[in-house]
C-alpha cells in the first residue's frame, strides 16, 4: 500500500501497482490496441481496428501533455509486468470531478481481479490525494463484466446514453456510472 518514492514511484494494491505513463510504454499500448479482444467491448472509441507505431506515439504524446488527464500503467506486482492502462481524464478541479478510464491490455491476465484492484487504487488516489468529489465513467451497456466490476467497487448507475455508438451492425447504448467521495468513504 502507498507510495514507494522516487526509485519505485508506484501506487500499490494487493495484486497490481500504478505507475505514471512514460513514452516507452507506446510499445505496450501498440500491442494492446491492436488486439481485437481488447478493443471489443470498449464502446467503439477507436475509429480503426489497428494503430501504427506513429499513431500510438502521437496518442501517448497527447495523453502526457493533457493537463486535464493523469494516466498510469497498471503493473502486475508479481513479475513487474505492464498489463494495462488506467487514468483520470476530464479532470474538473473546480467541481472536483473526473472521468475514470481503464483498459486491460494483457488478455492472459483477465479474470484475476487485477482490474478491480487497479480501480480501487485509483479511487483511493482520487479521493484521498486529489480531493475529488465525484468519479464517473462511461461503459458499454453490453459490457456486463465491466459493469459488475464497477458496481463491486461502489459505482452506481447514473443513466443511459441511448444509441451511444455503432458496433456489430447496430446502435448500442452506454451507461454512465459514478461514485461520490462520501459513498467511497462509507464502503
Amino acid at each position: 500500500m502507498g507510495f514507494d518514492g522516487i526509485r519505485n514511484p508506484m501506487l500499490r494494491g494487493a495484486k497490481v501497482g500504478l505507475r505514471p505513463l512514460e513514452t516507452p510504454d507506446i510499445f505496450s499500448l501498440l500491442k494492446w490496441f491492436n488486439d481485437q479482444r481488447v478493443l471489443e467491448d470498449l464502446g467503439a472509441e477507436h475509429i480503426y481496428f489497428c494503430a501504427s507505431l506513429e499513431e500510438e506515439k502521437a496518442m501517448v504524446d497527447k495523453m502526457l501533455q493533457d493537463g486535464r488527464s493523469r494516466y498510469f500503467i497498471i503493473m502486475k506486482l508479481d513479475g513487474n509486468k505492464p498489463i494495462g492502462v488506467i487514468g483520470l481524464t476530464n479532470i474538473d478541479l473546480r467541481n472536483a470531478s473526473s472521468e475514470l478510464r481503464i483498459i486491460m491490455g494483457e488478455v492472459d491476465e483477465w479474470g484475476k481481479g487485477n482490474g478491480e484492484d487497479a480501480v480501487r487504487i485509483l479511487l483511493r488516489h482520487a479521493f484521498d490525494a486529489m480531493n475529488l468529489h465525484r468519479v464517473w465513467l462511461r461503459v458499454a451497456e453490453y459490457n456486463e463484466r465491466a459493469r459488475r466490476l464497477y458496481a463491486r467497487c461502489g459505482f452506481r448507475d447514473d443513466g443511459s446514453l441511448r444509441d451511444d455508438h455503432f458496433h456489430k451492425a447496430s446502435w448500442r447504448s452506454a451507461r454512465i456510472m459514478s461514485i461520490l467521495e462520501s459513498e467511497w468513504r462509507s464502503t
Binding site: 478541479l93 473546480r94 472536483a96 486529489m130 480531493n131
Partner: protein
C-alpha cells in the same frame, strides 16, 4: 457582476488602465502595497495583458453609480487543497474608511465559499497597516500568524500579518447575519 448595497464587482477593461496608473503612482495609496511608484502606462498595459493567462482573477470595485474606486483579486487558486489568497486596493482615497472595501471583500468571499467551494481564504498584509487589519477582521478574518521580514518597505524589512477565514466561519457568519 456581483452587486451589494454600496459596490459591485466587475471585470477590468483596457479603458480602466489610466486610473490604475494614477492610483499606483500615489505614495499614500501604495504605502502598504507590494508595488511602489513610479508606474508607467506601458508597464500597467503589460500587467493587463498578463491577466488573460493568469491563474488568478482581478475584479474592479465600482460604486453603484458607476465610479471605479479600486481593485480586488484572487491571487492564487489551489483547487486540490481548496484554498486561495486575495488582495485589495481602494485607489480613491476619499472613499477610504467608509465600508467599500469591507463590502467588496464580503461579496468576493461569498463567491469563493458558495460558488468556488473553497475551504480557506487567506491574505497577508503589512503589520503596520492597522486600517486594513480592522477591515479584514470585520469581514471575519482571524489573525493566525506572522511572516517575518516578508517585505522591504521604506528602506527596511518589516513583518506581515497572516489572516484567514475558513468555510465553517463563513457559514456561521452568514447564518447569524440572516
Amino acid at each position: 457582476m456581483l452587486s451589494g448595497s454600496k459596490v459591485r464587482l466587475r471585470a477590468p477593461e483596457r479603458s480602466d488602465i489610466p486610473l490604475f496608473v494614477k492610483w499606483f503612482n500615489d505614495p499614500e495609496v501604495t504605502e502598504f502595497l507590494l508595488r511602489s511608484p513610479p508606474m508607467g502606462m506601458e508597464e500597467e498595459e503589460r500587467w493587463f495583458e498578463s491577466l488573460r493567462v493568469s491563474e488568478g482573477k482581478v475584479f474592479c470595485i465600482e460604486t453603484l453609480d458607476g465610479k471605479l474606486i479600486g481593485n480586488i483579486g484572487i491571487i492564487h487558486i489551489d483547487w486540490t487543497n481548496r484554498k486561495a489568497d486575495i488582495g485589495i486596493v481602494i485607489g480613491e482615497k476619499e472613499r477610504w474608511s467608509q465600508g467599500y472595501g469591507t463590502e467588496a471583500i464580503t461579496l468576493l468571499l461569498g463567491y469563493m465559499f458558495d460558488e468556488m467551494n473553497l475551504e480557506r481564504v487567506w491574505l497577508y498584509c503589512d503589520q503596520e497597516n492597522k486600517r486594513a487589519q480592522r477591515c479584514y477582521e470585520n469581514c471575519g478574518f482571524r489573525r493566525e500568524g506572522v511572516f517575518r521580514h516578508n517585505r522591504f518597505r521604506a528602506g527596511t524589512f518589516t513583518d506581515d500579518v497572516v489572516m484567514s477565514i475558513l468555510r465553517e466561519e463563513w457559514v456561521s457568519r452568514r447564518a447569524s447575519s440572516n
